[in-house]
């Protein structure tokens, strides 16, 4: 089953996105609560970065999320009208000695990289399609 959510790029909609994802993940009957929580976190971070850096929280702009389960994998696609941001190759410039983080959204990107098993980014006529994949743990 595919489910979609389109929201404008206001900060207050981040909670709406988290609630949508949490509800969707429940329909996949995954028992591991922390697993679901981290997926929600990764997508929240991606949307936060997009809202802030690509759309400057402009409520006239919107993104669309789509979730589905396929072959024991969870897929989350984010269609963003802004140009692509290369999540896979982003490296923190200000990597601190003891913590894996940096300023300007780097901590969030680091979280996405650590949580997701696969991130594909397609450029579609100046817009972006982020395709996140996470394998469901066997238990």
């Amino acid at each position: 089953m595919n489910s979609k959510l389109t929201v404008n790029c206001e900060k207050s909609n981040l909670k709406l996105i988290r609630e949508f994802l949490t509800d969707q993940l429940k329909t996949f009957h995954i028992k591991d609560e922390n697993f679901c929580y981290l997926i929600v976190t990764a997508v929240d971070e991606a949307c936060t970065n997009s809202f802030e850096h690509a759309h400057h929280f402009n409520r006239e702009h919107s993104i669309t999320l789509e979730t589905y389960k396929e072959n024991n994998e969870i897929h989350i696609d984010i269609f963003d009208p802004a140009p692509p941001f290369d999540i896979n190759n982003f490296k923190c410039k200000g990597l601190a000695a003891k913590i894996e983080c940096c300023d300007d959204g780097g901590l969030g990107v680091s979280m996405i990289q650590k949580i997701m098993d696969d991130i594909k980014i397609e450029s579609i006529e100046g817009a972006s399609l982020y395709k996140f994949t996470k394998k469901i743990p066997m238990n």
């Binding site: 900060k11 207050s12 981040l14 909670k15 988290r18 609560e33 922390n34 929580y37 981290l38 929600v40 976190t41 929240d44 971070e45 936060t48 809202f51 802030e52 003891k98 913590i99 894996e100 983080c101 300023d103 959204g105 901590l107 969030g108 680091s110 979280m111 650590k114 949580i115």
Partner: protein
């Protein structure tokens, strides 16, 4: 999110209630800076009512760690549920920050 605050002789306990995300992290940042202006550097973050923390929320605490250390203060997290702890663990922050089970245990660190 709202922040409940309890002060005693040894520390200030901040209890965020709800989600600490890109929207509400501004409130937490302002709260901590208010404490700094009052020379209060022993801060206990009681996570018992914290449902969600994003990188923006974590960034607030990370950005104030140096000042707290310079002032010989303590920043201690307590009562984290497994979901919130999983984010600290993911980033290795559990190695860098003081996380204990209860507020009572935290007081032994101050």
């Amino acid at each position: 999110m709202r922040i409940e605050q309890i002060e005693n002789e040894r520390c200030v306990i901040l209890r965020p209630v709800g989600d600490l995300d890109a929207t509400s992290s501004i409130v937490m940042n302002e709260k901590i800076e208010q404490l700094f202006r009052k020379n209060k550097y022993n801060i206990l973050i009681d996570c018992s009512e914290l449902d969600y923390i994003s990188s923006a929320g974590l960034g607030v605490f990370i950005s104030h760690m140096d000042e707290i250390q310079e002032k010989k203060g303590k920043l201690i997290f307590t009562n984290q549920n497994s979901r919130v702890y999983s984010v600290f663990d993911l980033l290795g922050l559990n190695q860098l920050m003081t996380i204990v089970d209860t507020n009572e245990t935290a007081l032994n660190h101050i």
